[in-house]
Symmetry: C2
Subunit: 722 residues, 2 copies
């Protein structure tokens, strides 16, 4: 790719971003769009238009608001997890800004003023960007010392900011946990691997006896996990009919207002997909169906609670100190029985994974790791092909009929700029669901944990495949024969092919941030979907609410994507320092746009109190070590005599990572007692806490089993939001 197509790409992306931002400014002012642009505020019962008074006509008002918002605002509006995500974005910006302050004024003149050498450039010809890169410096030149210094500088800046960030996140987590409000999950623990109960004792008695003996003062109640497959099915069926019923009722009410004051009762067919079968009155039909199912649900609930108890339970304590302590204690001599862990939020529990036993979990885990390994390795091949084939010259050879299109100068430039990146982005969009599915299959019982696991897999996938895959893949075609002869060549090969791919990644990053964040901010897709649905589908309030439900930040894919960018920028930071400003814009723009989204739009679907941070931290360290190794390899390629001076860096990184982990990590795994030692303000309503963990399919109907021995409020799911 030459410099022109790079500039075109950059310009187009920027133009798209500006258009989208203007669209956002215009659309977000319309009253009817409030639910699309301010759903978080609306759901929290706030006035969506509050800020209007100050900057009515100002198209950058949202930027001012984002900047002036405090971390506490973010925690209040969107939870600790979101605040931690901003700590990550801030740290990334910090690292890159501090790096650029030294690297840009130092390295660019050093590289540009070098007499230069030909041949190392992968295209065989110089362009303006390549002149500013380390590849332009002559081999064995003393100027390389500046690059050595830069490598150290980037590393030290990263250590410093990461240490502060880890400390800050730990404070955020502690502040959230110490707050004296009743959170059901702080009063509960999950116990798995309960052994078979002794003869003549029910599972519930067994569990109660065990925990009451150890925690006589604070044990409140237990909730044995049941196999809810059957009852869930019936419950969902009823819920489905209820929705259809209220839809039909809304249609009926609407039909009354016209010339027909009696209205038309809606009808439907009972057969396949509502297309075949008898025509019946919809409202009556669904009423009938629901009335049929309710006794069935009640019977199934009874059977489930009595006979489908499984080897897992939730235990409730009247003190959160005890719950925190219990989750850290070894209860049974054998680790494969009575394993007790912290309970996640009720809404996060993946019930079907709770009863999976100790050995099954371990075996599943290793099988999943193996599958992920295969996925990573075997996707490498297609990605290599994609990046090799989607250069225009290759495409023309393969598909001669596109030649006339390519001849158009403008079109050609655009295509050349976007083709490889588009292939890549589409490709990556297919994977996350699969990885999440795999993580759930491992037996993880908390949604946020499963998302973290999937995100980790996705990160290693993207670094290995996109970064190393594309880098090496581009050069692979020409040098495949060489590798066959000597596999040791791979490291210098990687280092060699890095500079040639710098512009590819520059375009990739620019496309990501301008178009990606533009779409994010303008919410074009949700807006269109919402308006279409409102017009043609939704009849009831509930349906409408569902149509504009904003969703959450989507850490599972967002963080690996960010991490990939950070990895790319870090690895190129010294080799081609011009990439750093792009990284700064990516993370800075991301910070701005997402701050707006977090405050006004997105609603987190769970809260893990910053448990995502250790994962992010590990990946940043992995990226840093990859950067250091790459630099080591690249200095080797440059035949720099003192390359060995870089050897301490990866070792230093490992020591730093170890110390950080030692010092901070355990608090993200166990709840420190000093944090929860203060009791909550009000005496917790334990029945409420207990009910918030009841699965909805078991909690909706009037309780009449021994598990429901008192008739407290029915506010099952709603309690989870406390």
């Amino acid at each position: 790719m030459d410099f022109n197509s790079f500039l075109t790409s950059l310009g187009t992306s920027f133009a798209i971003f500006v258009v989208l931002m203007l669209l956002f400014t215009w659309l977000s002012r319309k009253q009817g769009n409030a639910v699309v642009y301010y759903p978080n505020r609306i759901l929290k019962g706030m006035d969506p238009w509050e800020e209007r008074r100050s900057g009515e006509r100002n198209p950058v008002a949202w930027i001012q608001e984002a900047i002036s918002s405090s971390e506490q605002d973010v925690v209040t509006m969107s939870g600790v997890d979101t605040a931690v995500y901003f700590v990550f974005l801030g740290t990334a910006v910090g690292i890159l800004v501090l790096a650029s302050l030294v690297l840009l004024p130092l390295l660019l003149p050093v590289a540009a003023s070098d007499p230069g050498e030909s041949g190392t450039n992968s295209n065989g010809a110089f362009n303006e960007l390549d002149r500013l890169a380390m590849g332009h410096v002559q081999q064995r030149s003393q100027r390389l010392w500046a690059f050595v210094f830069a490598t150290y500088w980037v590393s030290i800046v990263t250590y410093y900011l990461l240490w502060n960030a880890y400390k800050h996140v730990s404070d955020l987590r502690a502040a959230a946990l110490v707050a004296p409000v009743v959170r059901p999950q702080q009063f509960a623990v999950v116990v798995r691997d309960i052994p078979t109960p002794p003869e003549g004792q029910s599972r519930k008695e067994q569990v109660d006896t065990f925990f009451r003996e150890i925690y006589p003062d604070t044990f409140y109640k237990s909730l044995v996990v049941t196999n809810n497959k059957q009852v869930d099915k019936i419950w969902q069926e009823i819920e489905g009919y209820r929705k259809k019923l209220s839809h039909a009722e809304a249609v009926y009410v609407k039909s009354k207002t016209g010339s027909n004051p009696a209205g038309t009762r809606p009808t439907c067919r009972t057969g396949f997909l509502g297309l075949l079968g008898d025509k019946v009155d919809t409202i009556d039909y669904y009423h009938e169906k629901i009335n049929e199912l309710i006794p069935k649900l009640k019977a199934e609930q009874k059977v489930t609670l009595r006979e489908k108890q499984q080897s897992s339970a939730l235990i409730f304590f009247s003190s959160r100190l005890t719950a925190a302590s219990a989750a850290q204690n070894l209860h049974s001599r054998m680790v494969d029985t009575w394993s007790v862990v912290d309970a996640p939020e009720p809404c996060q529990i993946i019930w079907s994974n709770l009863p999976k036993n100790f050995y099954e979990r371990h075996i599943r885990q290793y099988v999943v790791y193996f599958i992920v390994f295969l996925t990573i390795v075997f996707y490498m091949i297609p990605i290599g092909f994609v990046s090799a084939f989607t250069t225009l010259s290759n495409l023309m050879k393969l598909l001669p009929f596109i030649k006339p299109i390519v001849k158009e100068k403008v079109l050609r430039t655009v295509l050349e700029a976007y083709l490889p990146q588009l292939a890549l982005i589409i490709f990556l969009a297919l994977l996350p669901k699969f990885l999440f599915f795999l993580s759930v299959t491992e037996g993880i019982f908390s949604e946020s944990h499963a998302i973290r696991a999937a995100s980790g897999k996705y990160f290693y996938f993207s670094v290995l495949n996109v970064f190393i895959g594309v880098t090496v893949g581009g050069t692979l075609f020409s040098t495949f024969k060489t590798i066959e002869k000597d596999p040791n060549i791979i490291v210098p090969l990687l280092a060699n092919s890095l500079p040639g791919n710098a512009t590819f990644f520059l375009t990739y990053v620019a496309l990501k941030f301008f178009v990606g964040y533009g779409l994010e901010l303008s919410r074009m897709v949700p807006l269109i979907i919402y308006h279409l649905k409102r017009k043609y589908v939704c009849k009831t309030e509930a349906e409408l609410k569902e149509a504009w439900a904003p969703g959450d930040l989507g850490y599972g894919t967002r963080i690996p994507a960010d991490m990939l960018i950070l990895t790319i920028v870090l690895c190129y930071s010294v080799i081609a320092p011009v990439i750093i400003p792009f990284g700064v814009v990516y993370f800075g723009l991301g910070w701005l746009v997402l701050r707006n989204q977090a405050l006004k739009v997105l609603v987190p679907s769970y809260e893990s109190y910053g448990n995502f941070w250790p994962h992010i931290y590990t990946r940043i360290m992995a990226a840093l070590i990859l950067f250091q190794l790459t630099m080591f390899g690249y200095f080797g390629v440059k035949q720099f005599y003192y390359t060995a001076i870089l050897v301490p860096l990866p070792i230093l990184s490992l020591i730093f990572a170890y110390i950080c982990k030692q010092r901070f990590y355990q608090f993200f795994h166990d709840t420190a007692l000093e944090v929860v030692r203060h009791e909550v303000k009000e005496i917790p309503n334990m029945e409420h806490v207990y009910r918030s963990f009841l699965p909805p399919s078991l909690a909706t109907e009037k309780p009449d089993d021994d598990q429901f021995d008192d008739a407290a409020s029915q506010g099952s799911k709603s309690g989870s939001a406390v």
Copy 2:
């Protein structure tokens, strides 16, 4: 070494053993020797001669008693640690007996009936033992399948017995911990890394506030660790003078009985070593000295308690459940503050290590590991030289003047049999103290833990240096040039030199068990020392008691020595199956002799409830994997086509080790709550528990500080035996 010298060595060793056993039978009957042969019984207030009635004249009565004693007897007389050690001995015997049942009838005929091949034998000539070994089987022979089967058999037998043993030890530990008796250490935890107290708060207030808030119901008291260097010094000085005083008084009393009814008051000189200076009356002099020091001690105690408080403390709880739970909990967000762990027995605490902070401990640990690594690597060189030089033919070349001695046939045979082994044994005797010192330097604060750490280091030292060192060392001299050319040769080299050294190790094992256990049983050395001391040194009861104090099993050196034997026997079990009976005799005889010692002689100096087991287990697994790798290498040397069939074995071992660790290990690290959930029978006397942890130098005098705010009993150290 030829077969003759081997038989001579065996015969001599056996003769020594028989003589020592007869000596034991004869000496142990004498009334005056009871304190040497039955100290454990005497200290426990039992009749040492109890068994006399049944088998008065029977020289093997002790064997009958050892065999008929139950595990419960061992636990009662000598504690759980000793019982666990017998589980280890029993497991070793079990593994070797089960292995020999298949290996001896299978492999010996297979090897002996083989036409054989010359050249693989390191001596170049066959002897009777070599004919029975795998080395005698021809290369590529189908007979090697029998040896493959044998390798699998040994591995499977080891897995099976190890699993049972681990389970059994876990039961033993649980039974000991569950017992409803008051053990001070079960009611206490150690807290280290206490942060600097806030302004205006003493360390003690800080600690009390912190723990009282978290454990309001069960917190009893805290004991802040102080810097006792100064006060210990004064206290020891006083104790020394007291001993000397009572000695002088005893001498004075004795002198009265003679012709001189007034007696002669003993005198001494006050100067250097009692040789120079003024001559004074000893009794008066020491009285004076003690009276001088007591106010000094009191003053120093006050200063110590007030001003020398350090960043560590012991916390006492009125419930052992709370103590067990507290030791497993994370108390502070930062792992480097308020780290809480189980308290060891009071007598085990290494006080000076308690205040060492988190980072110091880690750094010390890595420095120590590095020193150990250096020790292991650089001792390799001298050991190699020793084993190469101490063959007689080498000695004759180097020291021509010993030729006439060597010419004597008998002497020559004896020398040839013992020289290399003696060098080895003496060499190994120097090391354990150094390794224990290193382990204490690491910052470990419990004696039993430090001994375990030293024992682990000693094991790796002995396996690497003695086993691999001697094996390879013998061959190294001739093949040093080859290794220089190609370091990859080391593995086949090791496998190649194994059979040639089999007889060396046979003699080594035989010497170890016959002479070692003979000396152990007959207690010749303690007997002679005791009688000498009684006659010439001891005047008072206390001095006499000190003279016959029996000591403990000495796990620090005993277990690594046993593990070395087990490693050797396992590694040779298939290559030269004749070694197995020797192993059986070693562990069987050890079991018998030590059973006698445990029941009657030795007194454990601490109790760690079987915490030694995971270490033993890990080392047995390491030995097994070394055996499997050796076999893999040796089959390769034999050019067996299907050598790859052994690849699953080490993998299987790793999986087995992992599962075992997962299932059993955590209980040896943390106390399971189900084990301590039953409260102790009597209400514990908490003041008593607290005082048992007071260092003697602070507890002897009348308390008058705020740490001693009530005047309970002064039974400080004696309480630790509860």
